[in-house]
């Protein structure tokens, strides 16, 4: 069974890399977007196990995103992704999913 992970970050280049990294593992299904509108549209349409907040999301947008995610999909885990690549990704996801 795949774990669905939604990545939201503002940098298109990093978003492409994150999409490749997340979908390289058969146990993960990664969906990577740059805008909050795209993220909310996905959250409304399907179940997501984990949301990764990437780079460039200002505090106001992060607060609104967290509120909206909790509103549409209460209990969805949300964590900050640091590093923008493969170095910390596996550890972050394993820690978040327990």
């Amino acid at each position: 069974m795949q774990t669905t992970i939604l990545y939201i970050g503002r940098d298109p280049e990093i978003t492409i890399v994150m999409n490749r990294l997340l979908n390289a593992r058969p146990e993960w299904k990664g969906i990577c977007v740059c805008t909050d509108e795209e993220a909310l549209s996905i959250l409304k349409a399907q179940d997501v196990d984990l949301v990764l907040l990437g780079n460039g999301i200002n505090p106001e947008c992060e607060k609104a995103l967290r509120e909206d995610i909790n509103k549409f999909k209460p209990g969805t885990k949300i964590i900050q992704h640091y590093g923008g690549g493969s170095g910390l990704l596996y550890g972050e996801i394993m820690t978040a999913l327990g």
Binding site: D11, E13, G54, N55, G56, I57, G85, G87, Y90, G91
Partner: protein, 239 residues
């Protein structure tokens, strides 16, 4: 009451990719150990051996303070901020990745192995403007002295980063003893032995051992061998 955690050299994560032989003091890439996720804001301490001419192609980073210290050999670095540089042993490089930066890093020499320490700290502020710097270290000042090589301030000795952290590096003669005072209340110290054998707060440490100490004002240090070389990382424990 002072607390500590000891990371012996042979308990580090290990990944041998042929051209890259890496040891990870903390969880990194495919090495995942829930007991080794970070020490305060210190998230990554990689000890990499890279074959001649080999390295990491262009890849991105964000929201991380990345410090690279070559121990032997030279790194060829290029990044999306327009920097193109060679960093050799005796120098230090820092990148504040902030909103995002791409870079490549290769062994600049075709016929010599490169050994580097790469250290990642969580920043104290997210989404800062990316920044690059490198400096030559004052090797003479490191003799029997913990010489500061990194701080939070551009006006202080060494490179600066987006975190309340201070790094010091020293090379010591046998029997040399000193004390180190923590720079900021609430910080801890992670000592990494680059070479030789030392005793810190009563713990005997060998090459590539790490010792994290917190809830303490400082550390007592003694060099047990003539080639003792130690990196001290004075870093916030809360973030």
């Amino acid at each position: 009451m002072s607390q500590f955690i000891l990371h012996k050299e042979n308990t580090r994560g290990h990944a041998n990719h042929g051209w890259l032989n890496a040891h990870h003091s903390f969880s990194f890439a495919n090495y995942y150990n829930p007991e080794r996720m970070h020490f305060g804001v210190l998230r990554v301490l990689n000890d990499d051996l890279i074959d001649g001419g080999m390295g990491f192609g262009t890849h991105p980073h964000d929201n991380m303070e990345i410090i690279t210290i070559p121990l032997a050999g030279a790194i060829a670095h290029k990044d999306s901020m327009g920097n193109s540089a060679t960093i050799t042993a005796g120098e230090i490089q820092v990148m504040s990745a902030g909103t995002g930066v791409s870079h490549s890093e290769y062994n600049a020499l075709a016929d010599e192995q490169l050994n580097l320490l790469q250290i990642w700290l969580f920043p104290n502020k997210k989404n800062v403007t990316p920044r690059y710097d490198q400096q030559t270290l004052d090797v003479e000042a490191m003799h029997n002295n913990f010489q500061q090589i990194l701080s939070p301030s551009a006006d202080d000795a060494g490179v600066w980063i987006q975190q309340d952290a201070w790094f010091s590096l020293g090379k010591f003669d046998t029997g040399f003893e000193t004390e180190y005072k923590i720079k900021k209340a609430g910080n801890g110290v992670y000592a990494f032995v680059i070479n030789g054998e030392v005793t810190i707060n009563g713990q005997t440490l060998s090459k590539r051992d790490g010792l994290g100490i917190w809830d303490n004002d400082g550390i007592s240090f003694k060099a047990n061998t003539a080639d003792a070389e130690v990196l001290l990382m004075d870093i916030p424990m809360e973030f």
